[in-house]
Structure formats: C-alpha cells, structure tokens
Amino acid sequence: MTDIRPRALQPPLWLRLTSNGFLVVWLVIALFPLMWITLMSLRQPIDALSANPLDVIFGKLTFDHYKAVWVTNGFWRNFLNSLIVTAGVVSVSLTVGTLAGYALARTPGALAFWLLILALIFRALPHSVLVTGYVPMFLNSRELLQPLWDAPILGGVLSWFSASAPTLYGKPWAVIAVLVAINQPFTIWMMRSFFQNIPAELDEAALVDGCTHFGAFWRVIMPVMWPGVITTGLFSFLLAYNDYLVTALLLDAQSQTMVPGISQFLNRETRAADQIEAIAAAVSITAPLFVLVMVFQKQIVSGLTAGAVKG
C-alpha cells in the first residue's frame, strides 16, 4: 500500500529502517519465549534439554508429555475447575457491573463521583490484603455462619440450600464471589466509559414513551451495549483465569484451578521428563489465551484504550 501522507511527513529512509528493524527485534522478543517452550514441550527430553538448539527445533515430535499431564496427572480436573470459576466470574461480574456502570454513566451527581473514587481506591489494593481477610473467615465459616442458620425465618430459607452452615474454604462459588468483588472496580469504570458513548437521548426517548428506567435499559440499551460487554467480559475472564494468589489460598487440592495447579509439576523436577511435563502444562494453560487474542484482538485493543482515551 502506498503512503498517502504528504511528502514532508514521510520519514527519511534511515529512520524507516531503524524503526522497522527495531520492530522486528521486538516481535522476535515478544514471540520467542512462547514459541520456544511450545517447541520444547513437543520434544523428547533428550532433545528438549539438549545443548544444541537445533535438536530442539528439529527433534522428534512427541505428545507424550501432554498425555502425561492431562491423562496420567489428571490435569483435566484442574481445567474443569478453571472453567467453572472463570464462567462464574464472567457472568456474575458482567451482570452486576453492567447495571452499576449504566447508572454511573447516566448520573452526574456527587454520589456517583464518590462511588467511582472509592472504586479507584479499591482497584489499587494489593490482593494479598483482601485474601488475609478471607482466609480465617473461610476456614471458620461453619462456626461463624451457624447463627444465621439458627435464626428463626432466615435459617429456614438458608437450610433449603444446605443443611448446615457451609465451610467456604475450597468452594468454587465462594472464590467466584471473591473474584467478582475484586474485579468490580475495574468493571464499573470500564462499563461506565462504554455507556457514556451511547447517547443519552436513546433512553430518554424511551422514558418519554412511558418506560421505567429498568425498562429503558432492558429494551433500548441492552441491544446496543454488546461490544462493551464483550470487551469487559474479556478482561474479567483474564483476571479469573490468570489468578494465582486468591485461588492458591482459598481452594483445596480437589477444587484447584489450572494456574496454581501447575505447581504440582514444578515441585518435583527430578526426572528429565518432569520439567518438560511442567512446560507442557504451561503451554496447555496458554493455548486458550492464544485463541482468545486471535478471535478478540479488536475488542482487547478497544478495551485497553477505552479507559484511557475516552476517560
């Protein structure tokens, strides 16, 4: 494609060469670690750990390590747990965050302003601070929550769900609630900036026609908000999928998700194959993300810039 910019704006040759050369170097750096570990995971240990890089590149293809990870070591269980946690976080986080984001975008008052500042402060909190609060609660929740189950009316309702107060430790749904909350500040800021781009005249017209605010949201805003929801959903997905700190401390071995689950492969690097199996597990975790970027590149880019450019 020819450059349509005026001649004076075109960079001189040396600058173009440096700039493109720099980009090539960057692309190699960006891609190399992932490509290399993918290659290693597909080779026999003797080739993968060989001193000669050519052995890694042209070694014999094998899927043994993937088989060992997924079948022998039962990594599919961690995969299912990850699936449950991420699906839960994305759906709840979006439902709750969309409603709040919409209200915040349509309300100029001081209350909305303070809520946003509060969310920004919450966004900055290191997660370890929050997890410290959860750990004792989660371990002792049976004793702590029992009074609720003993209460006259509420107790009756709650015992429909479980006979006695549950221990939250190791329960995926409890971790979903935690991750949704951690994700809320970011979600409402992002949804708000998307809703600000949807003209307010749209729902005002619906209100004039006799809709309630929720009706206007349901009939008029819902159909046009999907790009924003998809983008925000992607980031909720990433947060839940990538988390190590919260899931490692609040889930037990049976309910562990993939990312903390990888430590079972790391802590026993005694055989040569062990390291390659850990690498195969790492590649397995990365593969869904790779697909995600391929499919949703546009939404990710728009999401990263939404917070910044549009404010």
Partner: protein, 342 residues
C-alpha cells in the same frame, strides 16, 4: 436518574464491594492486633521419689496446653497490640544496625520485611520508565509502518500481555534454567560458565526483563490509539514553522500523550507494586521476595498446619500503607481532573 433508581442499579455492585473488599479490610485491621493461639496453663506438679525417712519431693511448675472438655486444645484470642508489627518491622534490629557499631543497611536488608520492601520499590520504579519508553517506541514504530502489516504486528505484540503472569515468568525462567538456550547464549558471549539462579541480582534482572516484556504491550496499545488522534493541523503548522522531526515529537506528540503517560504510570504503579506472580514463576523466594509474597508466606500453612494470621494481617496493613503513600499524588491528580470535567 432519580436517586432511588440509581441506588437500585448500583446496589448489587456496591454490596459486592462492601462485603468482599471493605469488610475484609476492616477485619484485617482488627486481626492485626489480636492473636489466636493455643491456651496454656501453669500447673504445679509435685514429684516424689521414695527416700529414707521421708520421700524426696520436688515441686515444679509446668506449662502445658489447656484441654477443653472434649480433649481438644483450647484456643484463646488475646489482644497483642503492636506486637505483630514489631516482629515484622523489628525496630530494635534496625536501630542497632543504624547505630555507630552497626552493620548499616546490609543488616537491615536481611530482615524479611525490609528485604521485601526494597525489592518491591526498586522493581516498581525501575520498570516504570522502561515500560513507558518501550511502549512509546513500539507505538511510534508501528504508527510509521505500512498499514497492511499493522494487524499481525499488534497481534504478536499483545501475546506477552495476555499470557498468565505466572506462566509468562516460567517461560522466561525456562529459557535460562540449567543449560537453557539463553544461558548458553550468554556463556558463549562471555566465554565462561554462569548460573543465573545462584545469586539474587541475576534473578532480579530476569524479573525486570519479564515485567517489561509483559507490560510494554499495554503501554503500546494505549499510546498507539492516542497517536491516531494527534491533531494533524497542529502537526502541519509545526512543519510549516520549520520544526524538525525531533521537535515535533517533543512539542506536539509528547504533550498530546501526556495524560495517557500519566494513566499508564498510574496503572503500572498499582500493578507492579503487587509483584507476586513473578516470585512464584521464578521460584526466587530464597533470594528475593516482595511484600505480597511476605503476606502469602504467612498465610500458607507451615509444617504444623498453622497459619500466621496476625502477622499476615500486620504485613497486609503495612503493604496497604505503602501503596497509599505511593498513589496519593496520582490519585489527587485524577480527582482534580474528574472534578474539573464536571
């Protein structure tokens, strides 16, 4: 929107944040002053051994765990004041190190908390300019390249950003581990044996490289989007006025990007202060730890299955004070901007 409708819309989100962020915060604050431990009682035991005329008796006081009616040890929760903070900060050791006969900073950095703080701060402050610089450079380079190649370039650039942090750190580690390809490449250049994981500073350098690799794409995307909205008229008038390429970058493009540089800096400060996944990925805890890792290690059960909740709470509070101090200037700025806009 009426206040009641507004509250109805916001309520679920607000509830989640209050129940799962604000409430734990308060509980952590309270916990840092209380310690739950096994209750002990002192009993006086008289031991007698048969002797001539009269048995020889000795009385001794024993401290033993108090047992409840069902035979389980009883736990008690006691107010310990600032004890946990004192144990983490060890002010005595710090004063001793700083006094005339002390060993100075080196001795302080052997204490876990100060070691973690030192790493967290250097990590945050060193990566910040590198991330912004590299992100800006990539954005300018992509902006200057032919349009048809931009899509694939952005795709590849996004990969390091999207990857799970622990996995990203691991993948960099494996390139260096043992006779990993990059270790061999360096050995070939310097012509001697090296081990990247035997000392703290090499691990730290790898972590810095990882972090810049991981976050620069984020800075890139933000800057790249902003470059699309640079006012072309201003740029052209700058050319008419005879501004060189460098001057145009300095006086037109950078000022246009300034608010975004501040935005990226804010996000990066928040995120890199949380450095944690890197410690796990590089398994660096023997040499380098961060503030979040310190709390994590208190929360992980030890060999006897106990978790040091009180110390975890105290170190959490200290971590939080740190981030507040770091962010106050930037938060004030955001506040003023939001105020000004309304």
């Amino acid at each position: 929107m009426k206040r009641r409708t507004f509250l109805a819309f916001v309520a679920p989100s607000l509830f989640m944040m209050l129940a799962f962020i604000a409430a734990p915060l308060v509980s952590v604050f309270v916990q840092s002053f209380y310690e739950t431990r096994a209750a002990f009682e002192q009993t006086v035991v008289e031991n007698c051994t048969p002797g001539f005329l009269a048995p020889t008796c000795t009385k001794e006081t024993r401290t033993q765990a108090k047992l409840g009616p069902n035979g389980k040890p009883v736990t008690e929760t006691v107010y310990v004041g600032l004890d946990a903070y004192r144990r983490i900060l060890s002010p005595d050791a710090v004063m001793a190190a700083l006094s005339a006969g002390g060993e100075g900073i080196a001795a302080i950095l052997k204490i876990d908390f100060w070691r973690a703080l030192r790493f967290t701060l250097t990590f945050t402050l060193i990566t910040l300019p590198l991330v912004i610089g590299l992100g800006l450079a990539i954005a300018l380079a992509v902006n200057a390249m032919v349009r048809s190649l931009r899509g694939p370039t952005i795709f590849v650039t996004l990969l390091p950003f999207i990857i799970t942090p622990v996995i990203g750190a691991l993948s960099i580690r494996w390139l260096f581990l043992g006779d990993g390809i990059l270790t061999r490449a360096i050995e070939w250049v310097v012509q001697r044996d090296i081990s990247m994981f035997a000392q703290g500073w090499t691990i730290e350098i790898m972590m810095l490289i990882y972090k810049v690799w991981h976050v620069a794409p984020f800075a890139f995307v933000v800057f790249y989007a902003a470059l699309q909205t640079v006012d072309q008229d201003t740029l052209e008038s700058a050319i008419v006025d005879g501004a060189s390429r460098g001057e145009r970058l300095r006086y037109v493009i950078i000022p246009h990007l300034a608010p975004l540089i501040a935005f990226v800096a804010l996000i990066h400060l928040m995120d890199s202060y949380r450095v944690f996944d890197e410690i796990i990925g590089f398994a660096s805890q023997a040499h380098v730890i961060s503030l979040q890792y310190l709390t994590f290690s208190f929360l992980t059960p030890d060999e006897t299955g106990n978790r040091a909740i009180t110390r975890a709470a105290a170190s959490s509070m200290l971590t939080m004070i740190g981030i507040v101090l770091l962010l106050v200037p930037l938060l004030r700025r955001t506040w003023r901007e939001q105020r000004g806009r309304r």
